[in-house]
């Protein structure tokens, strides 16, 4: 019987505490609040549960066919004509019972590759394109990422279906055409062209080694070049497509042949407006095709209720294809159309609808007042919207979709916050949005509460009640801290306090610049919030901090691949200060080389693959005639440096400081040996578990037991212990300031971004044991402010004190997950307790907190019997996902997270 870590700790009278503040009830406890959707939404959700992620070649086929016939056209117009053709030719599918229609493809849960960005990653492993991607390091993360094998993931080929990119199923009859289309982009994709030029950057060999060792997770320029931003629906809602096309035509006439004082880009405006006009016409045709399909179904339908619904759908689409919406239903349908259109323009994760309840408020308010709508109908529509969002898939590489996104698409809907004048911005429609998220629990859109002390208690309690359903949403974000960050980051581009109040979260947790847009409906004027910044979480993504430490301890050589990543530092590391200094030096070098390469990739993207539609929607592109590539957006300082494994780094530095430098219990050489030998344990892969407590010793060796126990019991983050927290503060102060030393391609400073998403699994998988006692291959602590599982022993308020030892407004975000047992917050009193707990963290300056309200024993059972848990939702790190669609490394980590049995101080 192999010895487990728990046995070794027990011998030393030590243990990891996976339950804090008491013990759980004897029997597994289900979540207290469980909602039920309308029969219609339930049918549509059940259809989702049965649907496989399916890929189609239709969009890439028509895009590539049109693009190929346009040699020597102006690049932006060429791309627009290709997009127009693709939209025009998409096959419209409407499913019985749907009220809101339009999808990415003709499948219920469909998506497609975009080989003009990158074409190698979805080839078979033996394909030369895939081998090329491996050789340059861009597919290295794919090799160490996993998907859950349940739910809609097609992880293996079967019957007539071929699995591609680890998750998507495609009909075998389409595969040869898909390959032909992919090969048409060989040497021409953003990935390929970018690679040609990135090799010219100084230090490129380090960049490639960082990718191959998975010290850095992925390049954003050709994987997810857009997203983590807030879309802006204002122009289509205010003007409608006909008027927008008319405005682009009018603008063409105004700027044609004129530089207007701008000799560099003034002339480009004509081509940009021409491109915008083409894309808008393509989208209009796409919507009209859906309207025709609704009419066709209406004509064939014998059942009167369904026939009337097809009629209603057709009338709605025929109207919004041309004109601004008149009703809440039309406005909701139009926002969805715009959302999908933007998603089809590029590979995007984290395209957030922003404060949708405030955007749609004018139609809701007026429809309710006029008796055209009641709350029941609105709730049903909002439930239907949740299903449409949940059906979204993002087609990208295994490393990106599996390793980073866990299959999620991060459409984050923000609620609450303040209005332009600083008053609470919440409204009744937002309460219905929360209600729909409770009655129709699903992954998308996830919700974020922009917490402000000014918001009414009843609204905050409603949000807390929703959290208790265990869906993980809404996450709670500190509105004031976010505004402070925005003013610091975008003040130089002209943002003032009033504009900063428009803030919404893009992607899982990216504080995003937004603006107030004027809107008039039936003579009444409103200001609605919408996105006005470039994509965020583009630039350097993600940097593994524990791996950087590994490279410092082993003089620049990655211990998994034995690849030299950095030139040897040659330092003796004789003091903690010298060690910490070298960590910073390697980190800074990594950011330097990665930012240069990523600037090139994004530059190639914006030259050859620019965002036409998304640009047109964002202020102030329509007015100026400049798209994203010419900095037409109001806010352009959005590139950042994203890290993973903060707490494992901090705990490891604390252990090194304590054991090696302060108490001198072990030498650095002895510790290196223990780490390289994984403290005498088998690998996580061999054990088949990725959580620390399940790891097993190799044979009977006891060689490293004492050292390992010392490492595990060294001071840990999350216990209000200044010994560790001072290291965290030092790191954060340095990291947040240092990012600003690097310049993005937009000539703006980078900034810090601290969310793990799912990267703590694959990055943990490639990292050897760390000085905090974590073993090789096991998953890192999630997020950036979550404690490492089992090490936060003094309750949530001690954790909050540790987390807020630094100024969160210096970073775009921070992230803290807490797992609470349902019994700890039962009843109305429990809801208030949860709100008070949250409020305490916000008032200490914490930026973000989210909860998993779940009994860990249920998760363990779900791991053993996944077939019984198709609908089980959990919060990972900034997003909610179906348990069965998550890879085992993340499942193990969520099970291991410390479970709080009580929340009292």
């Amino acid at each position: 019987m192999p010895r487990k870590l728990t046995d070794i700790l027990a011998q030393a009278d030590a243990r990891l505490e996976y339950q804090a503040m008491g013990a759980p009830p004897a029997e597994p406890t289900p979540r207290e609040v469980i909602g039920k959707p309308s029969p219609r939404a339930e049918r549509l959700r059940n259809l989702y549960y049965s649907a496989l992620s399916s890929a189609s070649s239709e969009f890439p086929y028509w895009y590539t066919r049109a693009y190929g016939g346009l040699d020597n056209e102006i690049p932006v117009v060429r791309r627009a004509l290709a997009l127009e053709s693709a939209f025009r030719h998409l096959t419209p599918t409407i499913f019985p019972g749907e009220l809101l229609v339009v999808g990415k493809t003709h499948h219920y849960r469909g998506s497609f590759p975009m080989p003009w960005l990158s074409e190698g990653y979805y080839m078979a492993a033996e394909n030369q394109l895939y081998q090329d991607a491996l050789a340059r390091g861009s597919a290295s993360a794919d090799e160490v990422s996993t998907f859950g094998t349940g739910g809609g993931n097609v992880t293996k080929s079967f019957g007539s279906v071929v699995s591609i990119a680890g998750k998507f199923g495609i009909r075998k009859e389409e595969v040869p055409a898909m390959l032909r289309v992919a090969h048409a982009w060989e040497g021409r994709s953003v990935d390929d062209v970018g690679h040609k030029y990135e090799q010219m950057t100084p230090g490129y060999e380090i960049k490639e080694a960082l990718m191959k060792s998975v010290t850095c997770m992925f390049d954003s320029g050709y994987t997810l070049p857009q997203g983590r931003e807030v879309v802006n629906y204002d122009y289509p809602l205010q003007f409608g497509f006909d008027e927008l096309i008319s405005r682009t035509e009018q603008k063409k006439a105004e700027v044609a042949g004129r530089a207007d004082g701008d000799g560099l880009t003034g002339m480009n405006r004509l081509y940009n407006y021409e491109a915008a006009s083409h894309v808008l016409r393509g989208i209009q045709a796409w919507v009209e095709n859906y309207a025709r399909e609704a009419r066709r179904l209406e004509a064939a339908e014998r059942e009167p209720v369904q026939r009337a619904e097809y009629t209603r759908i057709a009338e709605c689409l025929e109207w919004v294809a041309h004109r601004p919406p008149r009703t809440f239903y039309e406005a909701l349908q139009l926002t969805w159309i715009v959302h999908v259109a933007v998603l089809n323009e590029d590979v995007i994760s984290g395209l957030s609808p922003g404060r949708l309840g405030q955007v749609l408020w004018p139609w809701y308010e007026q429809d309710i007042a006029a008796g055209r709508l009641d709350e029941g109908k609105a709730l049903e529509l909002l439930e239907c919207l949740r299903i449409k969002y949940t059906c979204l898939d993002c087609f990208a590489s295994m490393g990106v979709v599996g390793g980073v996104l866990s299959g999620n698409t991060f459409n984050n809907l923000s609620i609450g916050g303040l209005d332009r004048s600083g008053r609470p911005a919440n409204n009744r429609l937002e309460e219905l949005i929360i209600e729909a998220a409770m009655t129709c629990a699903s992954t998308q859109p996830t919700l974020t509460l922009l917490y402000d002390d000014k918001l009414p208690e009843s609204f905050l309690l409603k949000a807390a009640e929703c959290i208790k359903t265990g869906t993980g949403y809404p996450a709670v974000v500190n509105n004031r801290t976010a505004i402070e960050f925005l003013l610091g980051q975008y003040g130089p581009e002209g943002m003032d306090l009033e504009e900063a109040r428009a803030i919404a979260i893009g992607g899982c947790l990216e504080t995003s610049p937004c603006s107030w847009m004027p809107l008039t409906l039936n003579g009444r004027s409103y200001w609605i919030p919408g996105g006005s910044g470039q994509p965020t979480s583009v630039g350097v993504h993600f940097l593994s901090l524990p791996k950087i430490l590994e490279l410092v301890l082993f003089d620049g050589v990655d211990q998994r691949t034995k690849l030299r990543v950095f030139p040897g530092h040659g330092r003796a590391l004789g003091s903690f200060e010298e060690l910490f200094d070298q960590v910073k030096a390697y980190f800074a070098k990594a950011v330097e080389v990665l930012s240069l390469a990523n600037n090139i990739q994004h530059d190639v993207w914006r030259k050859n693959n620019t965002a036409v539609l998304n640009s047109l929607l964002k202020p102030d592109c329509l007015e100026t005639g400049h798209l994203i590539n010419e900095l037409g957006y109001r806010y352009n300082a959005t590139h950042n440096v994203e890290t993973c494994g903060t707490i494992n780094l901090v705990n490891s530095l604390a252990a090194l400081k304590s054991l090696v430098y302060d108490r001198r219990l072990i030498t650095l050489a002895e510790l290196r040996k223990a780490l390289a030998d994984n403290f005498g344990f088998r690998t996580a892969d061999e054990v088949g578990s990725f959580s620390l407590s399940s790891q097993e010793k190799r044979g009977e060796t006891t060689e490293y037991d004492r050292t390992h126990v010392e490492c595990l019991t060294a001071p840990k983050y999350g216990n209000d212990n200044p010994y560790v927290d001072d290291i965290l503060k030092q790191w954060e102060d340095w990291f947040c300031a240092t990012c600003r030393d690097y310049e993005s391609l937009n000539a703006q400073p980078y900034y810090a971004c601290q969310i793990s998403v799912s990267t703590h699994a694959p990055m943990g998988a490639v990292t050897i044991a760390t000085p905090d006692g974590r073993l090789a291959g096991t998953t890192f602590a999630d997020a950036s402010m979550s404690a490492y599982p089992g090490t936060d022993r003094h309750g949530p308020y001690a954790l909050f004190a540790s987390a807020t030892c630094w100024d969160h407004a210096q970073s775009q975000n921070s992230q803290l997950n807490l797992k609470i047992h349902p019994s700890a917050i039962q009843g109305r009193a429990g809801t208030k307790k949860l709100l008070e707990l949250t409020r305490a963290y916000m008032r200490k300056g914490g930026f973000h907190i989210q909860y998993n309200v779940v009994d860990s024993r249920i998760l363990k059972d779900a791991q053993e019997h996944p077939e019984q848990y198709r609908d089980l939702l959990v919060r990972v790190a900034g997003f909610t996902q179906y348990w069965v669609e998550i890879g085992k490394p993340i499942q193990d980590e969520i099970i291991a997270r410390t479970e709080y049995e009580g929340v009292q101080e």
């Binding site: 030719h89 019985p96 032909r180």
Partner: protein, 89 residues
């Protein structure tokens, strides 16, 4: 060209995913590859088009609608194609 009457090639078939769909006539879930029912209505797709010519490789052909004769594939749905012409009545 005679094509097998499978559900996935029927105009009443709404594809849920790569293996199944909903029949608009019955509202039942049907398997893409199963034989269609008597209510089968042919779906416009390249294989059914007068302008389509099969290529040397399986599942890849040529479209002669435009002078550059681009590659296409037989199962490409053509309900939105401006050049589609039924191969036979």
């Amino acid at each position: 060209m005679t094509t097998p009457s499978r559900h996935m090639h029927c105009r009443n078939y709404a594809p849920i995913d790569a293996v199944k769909g909903i029949c608009h006539m019955t509202k039942e879930i049907v398997h893409a590859d199963d034989d269609a029912c008597p209510s089968f209505v042919r779906l416009p797709r390249c294989a059914e088009c007068k302008l389509y010519a099969a290529g040397a490789d399986d599942y890849v052909g040529v479209c002669s609608a435009t002078s550059n004769r681009p590659m296409t594939y037989p199962d490409l749905v053509a309900v939105t194609c401006e050049w589609f012409e039924w191969r036979s009545a």
